[in-house]
Symmetry: C2
Subunit: 235 residues, 2 copies
């Protein structure tokens, strides 16, 4: 937690917040903060600044807050992700949020196990909690948008053409002839397929929309490592 | 497990192995392999090839094996890592091994909590198990070397000068003036500091040896994300 994210309900005065629960435990037990210490804070979807510890005990902490800065720039990447297993999804959400990705589509593909759609990790609160962990890590406050789509064909035909406008769309596909592009420096859409790979129909459908299939190298990375690898290459 | 790694003790004949335990469970329960199916196999620190299922039941599986290929090229990066927390260490070992890093030094730094050195994750078997998970992921067979060093000053003065010869040495340090270099394409040594950062003395000592301090950007990545991010940028 490199930044403590504040919500409207935390404010007990115009410039004073009272925190309990996870954020209090972090400040009290891990940072062992004392009155007068200054911590990095930010308001959800808003500015960042400093919180000075005004009062702290085993139950709650009061911070006097001041906001001057802006959160870091977003990464100009839209992520489309074939639904991975719950642990991989959690790590990928945290990582995407840390990297500054602001739009994530979680999509069904032929080789996604149907049972994965029952996972509690897909509940709105769980997704939000993991995105917030990523924001805290990156000292960011802008919550990414996540949308879930269970129908590949309908999503690709009805929503994707509009979504990729103004971006270069890439799909990671082992065996593609192009390597991953380097230093792209313009908005991209990046599609990561399921563990077992795409079926031909899916790749063909994406290519017909203009997606460029790229090979990330001989070594098969886990989904949560693909993201920083590609972000490092492209930006 | 994209590749099943075989050890000398698995061979019951010249070209036949019998597997039980974790690898058997993977083949039996997850891959649901049947007689005649072909699986990717490799011999630890040796060639890769194909294993044809000759016999399978709930207890063991026999594979007829043939080796023709070589494992993927290593990544020309030596990793020096300030000892992270156990969960982060496990993920970093898996990730480093998947990326093809073949030499890893786990080092003490001033801001590494002393208690972390008691972690069972540092036991030789645990380190090896996590490296193997990474090899299985990348279809690699060449086990990385990991060495542990508990004395920063002595390591840096006595061993590091020799170790960085023939490589460009970088140290990740927030606030450094150089950004992370792109497409280096030659051997590097990469040093990732502790969660709380280096102390000035440590960075100065490394810079005096020729280390170039590089900033990885405004967003602070988790140690297990730093590695694919940097590997993506540099290679």
């Amino acid at each position: 937690m490199n930044l403590i994210i504040l919500f409207p309900e935390d404010f007990i005065e115009d410039k004073r917040v009272r925190l309990t629960g996870r954020r209090h435990r972090h400040i009290y037990s891990i940072l062992k903060a004392q009155v007068g210490d200054e911590l990095s804070v930010g308001v959800m979807n808003n500015k960042v600044g400093v919180g000075r510890v005004a009062l702290i005990d085993g139950v709650s902490v009061d911070l006097e807050v001041e906001f001057k800065g802006v959160p870091p720039m977003p990464l100009p990447m839209t992520l489309i992700l074939a639904l991975p297993r719950p642990q991989a999804l959690k790590r990928t959400l945290i990582c995407a949020s840390t990297l500054g990705i602001k739009k994530i589509i979680i999509l069904n593909c032929h080789r996604v196990e149907k049972s994965l759609w029952q996972s509690t990790t897909l509940h709105e609160d769980s997704i939000r909690d993991h995105l917030i962990l990523g924001l805290e890590q990156a000292k960011d406050t802008i919550l990414p948008t996540v949308i879930l789509r269970k129908l590949f064909k309908i999503f690709v035909e009805d929503e994707l053409p509009e979504m990729i406008k103004g971006t270069i769309p890439f799909v990671a596909h082992p065996g593609a002839t192009s390597p991953c592009p380097v230093a792209v420096k313009q908005p991209v859409t990046f599609f990561i397929g399921p563990e077992g790979g795409f079926i031909d129909y899916e790749v063909e459908k994406l290519k017909r929309l203009g997606f460029i299939d790229v090979d990330l190298g001989e070594r098969i990375l886990k989904v949560e490592s693909v993201l920083p690898f590609v972000a490092g290459k492209m930006f």
